[in-house]
């Protein structure tokens, strides 16, 4: 039996998390197929270059230009018979599609597996990361998303065969209307080496930008935010870090004016080094921080920006 990876892309590039999914898939020591739905040549070339992949399967059809969960799920299910394992890296894309796949196959899906163990056993995090569950599946097909940052990225350099297949007919009861992208010149949040997150205490969208941007620019960092900052309109929703936002695990994470609610720390506590700046010495964020600075962020962030060297 084989393993199928649903390869995410944004129409322009393959998601770097696909490389982590390949490493995760290697656990089963079975041939690994990568399914690319829609996409362009560059995406296929990157997919074909990932080491450890047996075949790249390319499904193309006009209705895959803007992937809808219903169409992608039907495509995956049309191939499912040959596979014992179907997986993807955890993201808003795979979370939309794979539960649908699992239901059509009548199997339970494992969301965001932290580890993969023998005999279809997985560790998952529950209760905003306060608890880890070890669960074993009795289903014959394993459908799961993996916690990307727990798996090393498979390297590139291969030249794998690409096979073209037809996609099932469009679902049509759902139609794509439009999309917006929060354009940013900064690195992508989920793969950035340094992340600088700000909280409600920044006070306004202008201050959020004015205080945090120069530091982010100097360090080549991505910006993140708490839910409180996003809800207040200081930062776009797609940079919310936490239980209900993005989970990050960079080399270095700055929590600036962030209280450290569990829903937030869920999204960043696996960072290698955590720095917290908060004026309240008892703020819970200091319990997860390697280095804590009790200070007014409006005083110390500009100083910090001055102190560090530009990494560009």
């Amino acid at each position: 039996m084989k393993t199928l990876i649903l390869a995410e892309h944004n129409g322009k590039e393959l998601s770097p998390a696909v490389q982590q999914a390949v490493t995760a898939a290697q656990f089963w020591q079975a041939p690994i197929d990568l399914l690319v739905a829609g996409g362009n040549d560059a995406i296929l070339q990157t997919a074909a270059s990932i080491q450890g992949v047996t075949r790249v399967i390319h499904a193309n059809a006009a209705h895959l230009a803007h992937p809808l969960a219903e169409d992608i799920a039907n495509l995956v299910v049309s191939l499912a018979e040959d596979y014992q394992v179907i997986l993807a890296s955890h993201s808003s894309y795979s979370r939309n599609v794979l539960p649908r796949v699992s239901a059509l196959l009548d199997v339970a899906m494992i969301s965001n597996a932290l580890t993969i163990q023998a005999d279809n056993t997985y560790t998952r995090s529950c209760y905003a990361g306060n608890v880890h569950y070890v669960v074993q599946s009795i289903d014959k097909t394993q459908v799961l998303t993996i916690h990307g940052s727990n798996f090393a990225a498979a390297s590139l350099g291969a030249n794998t065969e690409i096979i073209n297949i037809d996609a099932p007919a469009a679902f049509t009861k759902t139609r794509w209307v439009s999309e917006t992208h929060n354009l940013s010149h900064r690195p992508a949040l989920s793969s950035a080496k340094i992340v600088i997150s700000g909280g409600r205490s920044l006070g306004s969208a202008e201050k959020f930008e004015e205080v945090l941007s120069p530091l982010a620019a100097k360090l080549g960092a991505a910006l993140g935010a708490t839910r409180a900052a996003v809800d207040a309109g200081y930062a776009p929703n797609d940079i919310q870090v936490g239980q209900t936002g993005v989970v990050v695990a960079p080399e270095l994470y700055f929590a600036i004016g962030v209280s450290g609610a569990v829903q937030h720390t869920y999204g960043m506590k696996d960072s290698k080094i955590i720095v917290a700046i908060n004026q309240d010495p008892d703020a819970p964020i200091f319990q997860v921080a390697d280095y804590g600075l009790v200070a007014d962020l409006f005083d110390v962030v500009p100083k910090l920006t001055e102190e560090v060297n530009s990494r560009n």
Partner: protein
């Protein structure tokens, strides 16, 4: 048009749950419980659609034991018209709940089903998608706005990197993100009134569905805690300490 809302009873989001000493499960005896936060957004949105004249009835449904009466009463107190409890002696898992929910949707002939995007205990984020698949209905997950226009729902979804807007033919399944709305507060008189409303009960076993668990819980662990850190006194000290770390260039 009927809207069905799925309401889950979960540990209050402010509470840090503990693992039982034998590692068999979490210890939630005596812990404060409440409506899954995302489900409050789902109820709120259904009520607003009704207030706009787009829906005629809002039905709240929950799956589990009679302990779930409290979350259903909360939904009634917010303004739901009716509440249904599907009772099951066995612990339910996502696929089982979705099958039961499908049966309720078909029985009620609901045109729109709104769920939370994820439950804050299991953090699964699957139910809406599973339900939509079982019903062969269109789905819109992580909704931040919903507009109903005749037989169509226009939904804006929060996705990585931005938003996506899609149009769905009804009947359809939508899952609510926190930014969909601000749930209303429940006033005490409404809560008192909700206590008097009947809650319909359905026995899961009477529906004749395969709701056997597919996942066996082998063990529950506390995640590894981070080593305690240190406080630094100045920006200079912070930067020099960080520079001392291998691989960090500042």
């Amino acid at each position: 048009m009927k809207i069905l809302v799925a309401v889950k009873r979960v540990v209050d989001y402010n509470i840090k749950v503990r693992v039982k000493p034998d590692g068999s499960d979490v210890d939630i005896a005596g812990v404060k419980m409440g409506v899954n936060p995302f489900d409050e957004n789902a109820i709120e949105e259904a009520l607003r659609l009704k207030e706009q004249g787009k829906a005629t009835e809002v039905i709240a449904v929950s799956f589990g034991s009679t302990a779930n009466h409290d979350v259903l009463r909360h939904a009634l107190a917010m303004g739901a018209d009716r509440a249904i409890l599907v009772e099951s002696a066995e612990k339910l898992q996502s696929l089982g709940v979705a099958k039961l929910l499908k049966a309720v949707v078909l029985r009620e002939q609901a045109n729109l089903i709104i769920l939370g995007k994820q439950s804050i205990d299991d953090d699964a984020g699957q139910m809406g998608q599973i339900l939509a698949a079982l019903l062969d209905y269109p789905q819109a997950t992580f909704a931040s706005t919903i507009k109903l226009d005749g037989n169509e729902a226009i939904v804006t979804r929060e996705v990585d990197g931005g938003t996506e807007t899609i149009a769905l033919d009804l009947p359809a399944v939508i899952t609510a993100d926190l930014r969909l709305n601000e749930p209303r507060f429940v006033k005490l008189p409404n809560l008192m009134m909700a206590r008097k409303k009947p809650i319909e009960s359905i026995n899961a076993s009477e529906l004749g569905l395969d709701i056997q668990p597919r996942l066996t819980l082998l063990k529950v662990n506390e995640p590894p805690v981070r080593k305690p850190g240190i406080k630094v006194n100045s920006v200079e000290e912070l930067v020099s300490k960080l520079r001392a770390h291998e691989g960090i260039q500042l």
